[in-house]
Symmetry: D2
């Protein structure tokens, strides 16, 4: 039985910052799993909450333990749990679906309308322990290193986007190479893309994109960008767009670069309405546009596992920092400055 | 050998109206088919050209014979033609693709970037004769009545949209019931839709929608419209949206009514940019949005034939008028007033 | 709390026949639902068990309560159950999957390798009460009549087969019109088939097939059968084969009748190895052959519900008998003689 | 204008062997292209014809110029040809479809029922010149080396099989590593397979399989083979089977190794009927089985080009011999002995 309190990184009040404080260790129901967190990834969403921006002010209700990317070990299981036993090494899907609706019962739980996200809508993973419903738990393959396992959530976003688009033998444009856009590069390569073109405004990220396997990288502000892509694709345009930026301008440019009959998978989230020429960008082109959200439970997780376990995808260049849990302020500062691609907090090791 | 001149309905100069005049009968190359036109459908596009609106002013270069929906009989064939022989009863795909590009060679000729449309980019079908490349000709099944055959082009738009969306056992919302939206109703029913809800602002069209098999019809301005659709779909929203209006408001409303994970096929062409909340309407919902253009060559034509020939789709309620060729002015006036759903010109019979 | 005993139809020993006897009402765990059975369908599998044929001798371990098609009302629920409350009207998926394997976690629980089937591998539904795991329970729409709800299991087989094959605008051959083959006729029609051809050796079943909407029916022994189908399909062959007989001869004939590039969905289970010319029947033709098992959880159930609730599928001609529970011997005798298409036992009403 | 005669490798009479003799240079029609052959691949089919086995005796009608894998340069074009001009470097699809049937007009020309294959049903490519219909000609990318271009036909078989199966992130078993099976290895890797397991009885071919990128290779006679595959796939079985052997035993074994819900693409052609337990191998497993024939025109060709041009697929280890045209006897002898994987004849260079 775990000790009654634990460390947790908490948004204690509606203002910037997070507080590392002691909290009671949560209790489990019959269908729950108590997990001792070992490593946890820091996401852009966590930074929004840390900084208490407009989105966070509307969505987050303090007090809340943040964090949703993690791995650890099973500490205890409820009476009805069949999937894991104590000491199993696990990660978990952070989208907790209602389990009873049409979407949940037809393999689309990732877009359940009543989903609750850990670290956003309920207590999260930046803590010594977290409770997850059994159906959300993912038992880790022994060949997956801890730090990769800790970021299966964002890596899963990249895999979901790439696999929904379908890249096998295709030419692929990625607009926006933040951490998920970066991950999408080796994923698209491993999933069979014949060419991967990465576009961003940040030269350091583009440099990293190249190291991760992009065939070529481009500055999003290059006025000849569309021509450059056309020239590399026999004048047809790219087969596939993976939109990872959420920028209206990037979406418009990206859609221009896709060939007629191509596919565009949209993961980046615009903060506002966008203005779009639907006729020219989508209808006349006969495009297929896919909204991407979360990760398929658990098809995406199996795909992610296959890519990482086989060594087809190597995440080492993306994980730029592994920091002790208590250095969370530094983690957010590194993220904000753009110095870090992906930061993993070592929760257990630092105890 | 045909006589050297023929009647043709011609946009003679950059101004409103069309002129019925004598024109030389066109000559055929080795891969062409000369067709004697018997019946021809009048399309909204023809009305744009007749009225010489902004779109027409930008796109049309007089002199031009208009019209693109038709059926007739083969009068003569080029030396290399294998598909048909003189006197065969035929219709034809009006999108003339280049035949050599990536899209043409991979079954996507309907979105060929160098497509030329008859009656728009080159001489069309409102004439006694028209020349078509063999690859565009469609030999008619003897069980398809002439007047249905004459409108396989717009019916094909409806079939292409319905089949791309996939409606089998699904609930379907159709926004906009102009003539193609109306056709989409019996097509969706015959293709297996479990429920078809038609939305428009025109009560007469909604009345016709009901006669054509819509399970229910709604006024697009009804403030409770989204709730009404939700109520009929277990609170989930419709499985499929067929967007036939081109209205930005209808697109936004339509996307709201589709369930998470649903599919939206967009055929209606907005005349301007639209403003859209991509995050809420498409991305978070995990929607699949399909731009639809033309008809698949010739998968759509076979599907259309199957639906009409089997009697699963009955177009009689849609063809409100069959007029003699020389009453073309009346045809456009009936279309403009909204009195007509679909008008067919009897080109041959009136000679 | 239910009374401690209930009536149950039990295979008490390894020999022909079934015994209606008193059995303890089963207890539920925290994730289970206790259902009071109201109506139950009799399946060919039940007849195999009743007659104690070779298959039954190998598979069934008495004592066992048989029956797997049913509907009823929730009597009690375990502590963790969220989906239903007492008195809800329900049916249930009879394939109880392990819930933790790759297939179960990727939406393919219907082909879980460790599946247990009620009435075959564990106690079934021919009883006053049955316990089902919550994840198997299906809450019934109030517009679905009891007797239809009682046979959602076999109807779901038909729906699964039809939807996997994809019949929208297609020509469809059904080989074998036992009860599931018969159900497949209105299902294929409602799902959009442009033509449905039913083939069997039993004239009464073919007569029923016609009443259920088959466009034409054929005697499987007709030596010109293949030609007849070719003649109705422009010489190409049918787009789709739904194989419902399990006969090696029918499979071979059926595959001959499918066009190149067509699809064949196999539901009928051959009792022995079959001898097949793979090169001619499948490879050169570029066929897609689908093995079909059970029902997709719960995509098939939603589709089935949509078809029945909308009235697109009417099962009344198939349900030839509704008999009191205690007349089970007569039910099996009617099935064996071929007089009955589908028999429903009124379990509750007869108490 | 070419000289009036040319060298050609001809099956002159119904007996073993081929004769290099002078033949008239063929004439072209308005839609044809005359190609000067430069390099040509030798296929197992050519060996069957050379040896005059049972299949050849039934199918081949001497006199016939054999050979169907080749590349060269356009010598002359018919009046209606738009795709190429003289001196263009080209290969061509050897399946000459009728162009007018349902299959041809819906993107399935590769399975046209009236297809004629060059070098089998009409004169082929082991000659200085060959005439091809324009629609069969494939213009080569300048970055594709001649010897790779010469074998786009069998490479296309491998690509077609791999892409039809869908291997992205999947585990793949290949049964039979003759030259097409060998090609399927780098193709499957490049197309995104997470693991490729090659199975054959020939140790030299298995050695080559490893060099081409197979993750592991197995002797088909290994009694523990199924267990070995299960062990590497978490006990589930492989996601995908690519059957390249045509052996009934290999097909049965291969289907055993595929997981429930998996996909099997069959390219290898059994010379006889096979005996199969459809229930256990396909139906209960919910398998999808795909018959594969030829190459999709021209989707497969574009995919093949993308894989070779990008360098993702390197064919050098497979092309074990490039021989002068006149050494054709040696080529067949090397093929028969199993010393060669793929032999290319240098037709032009040796003149």
């Amino acid at each position: 039985m775990p000790s009654p309190t634990m460390r947790a990184l908490v948004k204690t009040a509606p203002r910037p910052g997070l507080v590392l404080q002691d909290r009671p260790i949560p209790e489990i129901g019959p269908a729950d799993v108590l997990i001792r967190v070992e490593k946890a990834g820091v996401c852009g969403t966590d930074l929004h909450i840390y900084e208490w921006d407009k989105w966070a002010q509307n969505r987050i209700h303090p007090p809340l333990i943040v964090g949703h990317e993690f791995m650890g070990r099973v500490e205890a299981v409820g009476a009805a749990v069949k999937l894991v036993v104590p000491d199993d090494r696990v990660s978990a899907e952070g989208h907790i679906a209602d389990g009873t609706c049409f979407l949940c019962r037809t393999g689309e739980a990732h877009i359940c309308e009543r989903v609750k996200i850990i670290g956003v809508d309920r207590d999260g993973a930046f803590a010594d322990y977290i409770v997850m419903p059994e159906v959300n738990v993912w038992k880790l393959d022994p060949n997956i290193p801890d730090e990769f396992a800790a970021i299966f959530d964002p890596l899963g976003n990249a895999v979901h986007t790439v696999m929904a688009a379908g890249v096998s033998t295709k030419s692929v444009v990625i607009t926006g190479v933040g951490s998920i856009g970066l991950m999408a590069i080796p994923v698209a390569r491993a999933a069979g893309a014949a060419a991967v073109y990465a576009i961003d405004v940040n030269p350091a990220k583009l440099e990293l994109a190249k190291r991760l396997g992009a065939d070529e990288t481009f500055d999003a502000r290059d006025p000849n960008l569309e021509d450059e892509i056309l020239r590399r694709t026999n004048g047809d345009g790219a087969d596939v767009l993976l939109e990872m930026s959420g920028s209206g301008q990037a979406i418009d440019n990206g859609l221009r670069m896709v060939r007629n009959g191509g596919r565009a998978a949209l993961l980046g989230i615009p903060s506002d309405n966008i203005n779009i020429n639907l006729a020219e960008r989508i209808i006349f082109k006969g495009l297929t546009v896919l909204g991407i959200n979360g990760r398929r439970m658990f098809e995406t997780w199996y795909q992610t596992q296959a890519l990482v376990k086989s060594g087809r995808v190597d995440l080492r260049p993306i994980i730029t920092h592994i920091l002790p849990f208590e250095e969370f302020d530094r983690a957010f500062s590194l993220m904000k400055s753009g110095e870090a691609a992906k930061i993993v907090l070592d929760v257990k090791g630092s105890k």
